[in-house]
Amino acid sequence: MSLPLTINETQEGLKGKKFRASEIVREYLERIKKYDKGINSFLTLTEEVAFEKASRTDETIGSQGEAAFSRYPLLGVTVAFKDLFLTKGVRTTAGSKVLESYVPTYSATVVERLEKAGCILIGKTNCDAWAHGASGENSDFGPTKNPWKPEFVPGGSSSGSAAAIAANFSLIACGTDTGGSIRQPANFCGVVGLKPTYGAVSRYGIIAMASSLDSVGHFARTVEDVRRVFEISKGEDGYDSTVKSEKGITRSAVKVKSSGLKLGIPKEYFIEGLDKEVENAVLAAAEVFKKQGVKLVNISLPHTKYAISVYYIVQPAEVSSNLGRYDGIRYGNDRNSFGAEAKRRIMLGTYVLSSGYYDAYYLKAMKVRSKMIQDFEEAFEKVDAILAPVSPTPPFKLGEKADNPLQMYLADIFTVAGNLAGIPGLAIPSGFSKKALPLGFQLLGPRFSEDTLFHLGEIYQKAVNYVPKVAF
């Protein structure tokens, strides 16, 4: 059978009895078994769980008909979770040997919500261990390959989730974005990826990387699908105090303007070192928006060049304390099982927090972080959203940066600022490079402006007659 590529196609097909949920699941699993040896996007397949849920889905549709789809908005949608999401009874490794045999006793809020909305769990995806990386190569279970060209990296750290969507192994996938870990692999794999506002989606049950930066989002092939999943995953659950709707504090969504939208082009994102093809792809997208009546405005985010330094102080500091809990006593293996990148970040974080260096590094970074936030606030007084590249280059080859951590860290330059400011970002594919590798752009907006980003993304995908594509 030919698999549906969007939620709408899937649900229309199920409604019209074109296929059954069990057939979709069988087809995905067959594809995974046939092709994933060469991609390595899954760490665990939940075959039994998937078939069981699929047959229940078919029963529900049989007995309730179309009404089932309003009751369960994501009915029949297969989902793969980055192996950082706790799944009750299903091994969860964080891509690390420390947790190679850890089986959680509860599920993350997002897992529960998606399952309740009708999603079918198909498996757990590979990632850089503890979400540390921009290429997928830091996984303790071997690197994930880019489905479009296996000698290239899929991006990271949500490498397997992005690759699984590009390889047509699942309809949607979830990931986490601490410094670009959803947007960058989405960009490298030619799929849509959302990094929501910090505090929009609960982190309960998700293995923590850097707690002031972590945000929980997802991948799909269209902006509309990403919007539909966000509608289900967002909002207070009582278990994550950063997700809180309180009286007196405006935390409601930013209203979408029906006309007169303005898109900022930040000059600091078009700098030396930015690949020409990447630059042209972003500028071409700008032209599309302009033709649709969106006004382009040149803006400046003057502290952008310090983003990497701020990020590589704040993030390892928080990593070093979050990874402090892994002692091998209550679960998991002991600290000797940490891989090289985890050790580097723990040591770097411990160093910048240690006595005598705290003020010079950590406190300084938190202050420059304020300056970067101020940059964004000033920009958003002039524009509704910002258009920027996601990564300075198209996907690079496996091994190309593996021995040079600093070079690898610099690949995060256009994504980390969004995390430091806590704002949402939406990565959208726009075409292919001469080497047939995916290209795209990201939209950044003020806190809780996801609806504006979706609106802009949909304007773009409609204007270019975007057709969802998979690598094979």
Partner: protein
């Protein structure tokens, strides 16, 4: 910024309870020194009148009522399910204190 030394790396590794070999030490020293030098660029930013940001939610003092939620608790069996080293419903750990040998 001063240059990172072997002693610095050994010190942070021991603070973080990581055991690293001499070969690793050489490698990490070089890599961490490069990163530490790079992030030193923040010195050029004037932050005299800037408050630090530790989180971006704008929320303060988030409260919840102090009540037990049955669905959030775990059973003893669940809590112990992650380890093979348990005894009588307790986690088994290595002894921290040992018998004196200088008596």
């Amino acid at each position: 910024m001063s240059k990172l030394t072997k002693k610095d790396v050994e010190h942070v590794a021991s603070l973080a309870k990581l055991s690293i070999s001499d070969k690793e030490l050489e490698k990490y020293l070089k890599q961490l020194d490069e990163v530490v030098n790079y992030i030193g660029e923040l010195n050029e930013v004037d932050t005299k009148n800037t408050e630090p940001t530790s989180q971006t939610t704008g929320l303060e003092n988030v409260f919840r009522s102090d009540e037990l939620k049955s669905q959030q608790g775990s059973t003893q069996e669940e809590v112990l399910s992650g380890t093979e080293k348990s005894y009588n419903g307790y986690f088994k750990v290595e002894a921290i204190l040992t018998e004196r040998t200088d008596k």
